[in-house]
Symmetry: C2
């Protein structure tokens, strides 16, 4: 910045894109999600791959895996699609018994052991004193209590509940609209859609109150929900996720905060937690 030449060259050079950064990322900057923490929600039109935040919400993750292993979700349906809000699936009839190990709990904030892994964003946030990433999930942190929690960004998956605050994980939802951050600290988020988000977000909206399907509408059936580790290896979806504690991810953040592409006439100079791309890829190709 001190000598005339460098900025001029910078301005004329082709700006680095997120694709460039990902293409140049060393293999160590990618991770393969643990198959025991990965869910396959099998719909008639395809597979939704969900990564559970097991380290953040261990009780809900254990419940959901127990439910999947008891075939609890198989043959249920997506019962609610509310535009700009959530897609929901559960046993609306409440007739299916829960496995004995599945107990309700409140897991709005993570175990304090998770806090040291929190990677803060330098950017501000409206809802929390500090935001960043925790093992690849968008998260927030209270610097006074060191408490951490997951944030309601697009594609996040949560455990629905009534009142009181407890939930089991038997009622699940995915965020399909503008980040409903007012739900943070009010519901246990349990994970994130890594692949197949469009199989949920493009579903027909329910015409009932809060987007519930009414009887004339055909809810999308759920063929099954499985833990990836229980699926034969050749039937699994190969996937890699960019590590949020990697140098490549930090470069992606910088690229998205300061927009140097000529198309941008105004540089935002800030990035909102839920506008941060969390890249995932098929190994050996995109």
């Amino acid at each position: 910045m001190l000598f005339g030449l460098a900025p001029a060259l910078t301005l004329e050079a082709k700006p680095v894109t997120v694709d460039d950064l990902l293409a140049g990322a060393p293999a160590a900057d990618w991770r393969t999600p643990n198959a025991d923490d990965t869910l396959y929600l099998e719909l008639p039109h395809g597979r939704v791959v969900i990564e559970l935040a097991t380290a953040v919400v261990p009780r809900h993750a254990a419940n959901i895996k127990a439910l999947a292993r008891a075939h609890y979700f198989d043959g249920l349906a997506i019962i609610r699609v509310q535009d700009n809000y959530v897609v929901q699936w559960d046993d609306e009839s409440h007739r299916r018994p829960l496995p004995p190990s599945v107990k309700p709990s409140v897991e709005f904030t993570a175990d304090a052991k998770a806090a040291p892994r929190f990677q803060p964003l330098p950017d501000r946030d409206l809802y929390a004193a500090q935001v960043g990433f925790l093992d690849g999930f968008p998260a927030a942190r209270d610097p006074r209590t060191h408490s951490v929690w997951l944030a309601h960004c697009y594609g996040m998956v949560g455990a629905g509940r009534d009142d009181p605050a407890e939930s089991t994980g038997a009622e699940m939802y995915a965020v399909i609209g503008n980040a409903p951050r007012q739900l943070d600290l009010n519901v246990a988020l349990v994970g994130r859609v890594l692949k197949g988000m469009e199989l949920l977000s493009a579903l027909p909206r329910g015409s009932g109150e809060m987007g519930f399907y009414v009887s004339a509408e055909a809810p999308m059936p759920i063929n099954s929900m499985r833990v990836a580790a229980d699926v034969p290896e050749r039937e699994r979806t190969p996937i890699e996720v960019l590590r949020t504690d990697s140098a490549t991810f930090r470069a992606v953040l910088d690229q998205r905060r300061e927009r140097h592409e000529p198309w941008y006439k105004h540089n935002p100079g800030v990035i909102e937690l839920c506008n941060v791309p969390l890249p995932a890829r098929t190994p050996g190709g995109h």
Copy 2:
């Protein structure tokens, strides 16, 4: 708050909901959008009603009305649906001539005459020094220059462009994902979907780069786009929009910022511009 009884009563009273507030709103708190500033995007599966922000972007609004009146959009198609981002429609072939009155311009910020009508939100924002509402549209304001501009919230409609910064309005898009506020001050927003948003947001995502449909996919055809004033009155969609300068709207904001419903265990105490509901209704019913 000073005497013991009132807070206790408040806690036990059923909290007021947005529906309660709207049901109790005086007729004067609702407005009927000007038919000359309303567009009907007619798709095979229904009508999308768009209100143009004519006072904010007069040149783009005039262009789009001239284009609609020249039947420019009729028989085009939705050519791009990018998950968590935008739906786009335009003449991909660039073969259709533009009416002679349609000239490109840059309208990223509004005419200074619009600034006094800006209703500020007390809440902070990450992207702008001040945010609020301008004639019913989410907007931002620079308190130093008094410049105002529209904000990229879910359901907002914009005029796409290449580089340079000018646009005509012949390329249109609607936001279907988490508010891409980094686009603020980089594109001319021209209006907002008032009704029929789900006809756009639930469209199948395009599998090409940036969500463009590839040749094997069938883009959704556009039957026509009309100015409502040009449609026979009996074929118009009756609609009313809550005034953003009304007492009812201020009460809706308060209700959504401080969540007193028993379901909420943590009160967000803040509301993000793009999480503010902008109620619209069919007169004489919802």
